[in-house]
Amino acid sequence: MKIVGRVRDEGLRRGLADVASRLGAAVVDTSGLSPDGMLEAVRAGANVVVLELEPDVDLSRVRQEAHAAGAALVVACSPEQECGEAVTAQADEWLILPVSSYELEARLRSAMQRSAGGELPPAASADLLRYQELLFDATTGTATLPTTMEQARELLERSGRLTVLYLHFFRFERLEESFGREKLDAVLKTTADALRDFCAMESTGSGSLIAIPFVFDEDFVILTATDRSTHSEPAAWLVKLSRRLEPFVRERIEREHGEQLAALATLYMGISVPEPNPRVRTERLLYRGIREAAQAARSAEHWELASRVADLKRTIRDGAVFIEYHPIIDTHTEEVYGYEALARGVRQELRSPEVLFEVAEEANLVWELSRLLRRRAVQGIIRDLSPDQRLFLNVDPHDFEDPLFRKPDPSAMGIDDPSRVVFEITERVAITDYPRFKEQLDTFRSLGFRFAVDDAGSGYAGLGSIANLAPDYIKLDISLISEIDTNFLKQNLVETLVNFAEGHGAKVVAEGVERSEEFETVRKLGVHLAQGFYFHRSNRVRRSAA
């Protein structure tokens, strides 16, 4: 690719060199030549001509010559008035100095397209593909802020006033850690759809814009045209709005992804109403408004966390938790091998176990909460288990620091036969002091308790660290199981883990089985046990009453 350049401006010269190196193009500098010398160079062959306006050069002629040679013409103008000349001469593209190299590249590209000039070299069109990815979010189909800016400016100029809402679902981070990125992708898609529907429903005619700060971001920004009356009390207006918006989004998530995930859709909103000011650039005004709203959302979050700590203290004092028991199925006999106990808070705001533990950590009450949950989990089912069924209990590595837990007393926990109780240890929490941790596990082992490594294969640790714990069970992370029937890489990894487990005398449990195809696949791969919503929905097993 060849660019013929005739430029004086130093910034433009540098920009041109930049762009040329990105596109792998050669630049022929004709600024030292006479106007005819430049035309000579154009005739010798070029893809694009970049010309800075000067009195001696006849633009129309350059355009004719350039087009005859199959090249596009880009004209750089210093004051805006000169652009008129470029337009009259029908240049393919014009720009106003100073210009960034990225703008320059975009102008060159569109000029070449317009003049139906040459194709872009592969490196450039690969870049183009990647730039496109930066503009729209692939998972939710939402535009990013920079893409929305132009529309936002228009909306502001049309309606005179914009309200900026910043939406932060602060437990989405936890949701992703627990259920994997595909799950959060899906939840974000649902959320974006729900927000669009909500805005369409609420819209007063002037419309609103939904955007995300960056691609793959989890926060949302809503820019909405509002009249003056709304803003006499923006804070009160926001409270009313969020009382309708949060349940709306949550309900949609519950319908599409279940109650467990909906419980993690806690919305914090911030509002700002940027004051239009002719001295201030509109884009910056909006960006500042967005930052202000984001900060407001964050302080709302801190405020509410404090009130949840109080809720948790009451929860622990009243024992207001209940336990759900999820069946674990023998893939061979399809009978119930055991149950995993999962905690739920009774209070609406503390319903999900992730939230419970998050608040407990904040309030330094993890041990107290864990003790309560273990006691309840055992009491709730131990008498209903048949002799060969097992109870799986989650323990946090921090629980081993709890002096009461470290000296285990099975009868005080209500356990007659420790060999029927399996403690699940997550692979996600880094164990810093391995020898000491193993020593603690051995205390439990000597009493007969069993161990499972939870969330294996989620990428937090390799096989070595799993082997180190010598578990009786290896529970495969949901991210390995979802869609395993069509992903051969996952199949291969699971097969590897099954072989590894059999070599170490352990059983493999597939977590998060949701579809019959997934169940068939893990069964074929030799996975011993399985659990997940597939077994709740079907009538294969009856949920045991707690």
């Binding site: 592969p122 490196a123 450039a124 069109s125 690969a126 870049d127 593909l129 990647r130 990815e133 729209f136 692939a138 189909g141 294969g457 990428g459 390799g462 096989l463 991210s479 390995l480 069509t486 992903n487 051969f488 890489l489 996952k490 291969n492 990894l493 590897t496």
Partner: protein, 128 residues
Amino acid sequence: MAKATILVVDDDPDAVEIAESYLSAQGYEVHTAYGGQEALAKLEEVQPDAVLLDVMMPEMDGWEVSRAIKNHPRFRDVRVIMFTARGDFTDKQEGLRSGADDYIVKPVRLDDLGQTVERNLEVRRRSA
């Protein structure tokens, strides 16, 4: 049914040629690229059903290319098969993170290549 289209990507021209001639002989429409950038640039034009990707490539490695394909709204359903030199546990985990669907350990055995490609196209046909 139209022939399936496959894009073979490797910086080693010999490896590309071997895969290309074998897969063409199997009746697939085969396109080639010698680097990650070139591969991404060709997606629009080629509209492949499957992309065979070498992991070790200069400038843009196979994982990165896989991630770009799987994150793209229009190409995320394209089957991505990685050529890896080791194929050990951590390699596969890396593959999973990049969104790849399958892998083939190098040096490539041709019948292995044929089977792997076919089973992935089968999944794509079923979901289409």
